[in-house]
Symmetry: C2
Subunit: 229 residues, 2 copies
């Protein structure tokens, strides 16, 4: 490759080594949604910053970087969030068919009080003005960017020996009130984080008989959605 | 740790080595949204399956695994998608203030014809029945799971020396018609993939002066959203 043909901002993309590739796949394959295995030790500040830098390196539509990260360590706030979860979870139980309710109730679905750190991840739709490159035809792209940041954070946490659980059983208004989040800001995720020394070998909902892994091959189509007949 | 205290589905979570952690952070930090650096060689089937397995290992609400992956290699279909992009992109240009339009037009925002493989990633909201654990209070959790799958795929691609670009400037109805996707299925992402031997050292939109990286420190709050006064 002749250097003069490469614009200055482009760099040669050196391939990952086999061991580097394996490390990336290990993080992806062994990441778990953790609800109960959290250890009580606080996470060091420099570790938390590495996780947040990983999140901040996520792709974002129009490079708008719409995310904010609210670190919640205050036990009183986490107690209120846990109560909001409990209220919503009681509503949730009643939505399931009778024969699923006992199993549902037996599942621990959050670690809000046990994990030493919660992070509420939000999306500011106004971060880059009203018209955003790439959001013009899909208004949800800003939230999708924010979810990519969550997944980056999750994989970095795995590599750091930190478990992470995404709690989604809340009424939006409750989280908004607890953290004082303005109406124009979208609440995307409540994450619980803490060191772990044990993880499930397979997703916890599979281990506990709620739902099993689908065959990947059944989810792949070629050159279009399968048409009937 | 006494083995008898560990339920059978739990395993000791062995920490990542320093070099494994660095590999994960390298994938996160050097991942780019690729629009033009694609090489023409087709991606081997076993590589594509590794990428899809990474996507399939994503977290999903209630373990519903709502995603499908439509592999689009047919040049005629990719030509139609490129035309749909072009039509939408003309609409997009007109939405920007006059002084931004020349720069906008100068940006290449897709690699649909140049990249040998496109993958359309969709979300089936009915994959696990009408009531889904964890989706009861946030109906968008299924799509968020699908976005996590995209980000897994993106990071795995980086580790494999494969560039990936997410094209979002489409009218939903156009992609739906081109691939025959039923109305009840949500279209989440159109991804372009191909080997790359060059990548931008920073996000392309920053390199080309569209928008710069924000300071992470400004995006972090403690124990609540900052209140006025």
């Amino acid at each position: 490759m002749r250097p003069e043909t490469v614009p200055p901002a482009l760099r040669s993309a050196i391939p990952f080594s086999q061991s580097e590739r394996e490390a990336v796949y290990k993080a992806i394959a062994t990441r778990r949604d953790v609800r109960d295995q959290f250890l009580p030790e606080p996470l060091p500040d420099d570790l938390v910053m590495r996780l947040l830098r990983a999140a901040h390196a996520a792709p974002s539509v129009g490079f708008m970087q719409p995310w904010n990260f609210i670190l919640v360590r205050d036990p009183a706030l986490r107690q209120r969030a846990w109560e909001a979860f409990g209220k919503a979870n009681e509503e949730a139980v009643a939505l399931f068919p009778q024969e699923r309710r006992d199993l549902y109730r037996s599942l621990k679905l959050e670690g809000i009080r046990k994990a030493p750190l919660s992070i509420c991840v939000t999306c500011d739709p106004d971060r880059a003005g009203p018209v955003v490159l790439g959001r013009t035809h899909n208004p949800r792209m800003d939230v999708y960017s924010t979810v990519c940041a969550v997944q980056n954070l999750w994989l970095a946490a795995r590599a750091e020996g930190v478990g992470l659980g995404w709690v989604s059983i809340f009424r939006d208004a409750d989280v908004r009130a607890i953290l004082g989040i303005p109406e124009r800001i979208e609440i995307v995720a409540w994450l619980c984080l803490g060191f772990v020394d044990q993880l499930y070998a397979e997703p916890e909902l599979a281990a506990k008989g709620w739902r099993q892994r689908l065959e990947l091959e059944d989810l792949i189509f070629e050159d279009g959605w399968p048409q009937p007949g």
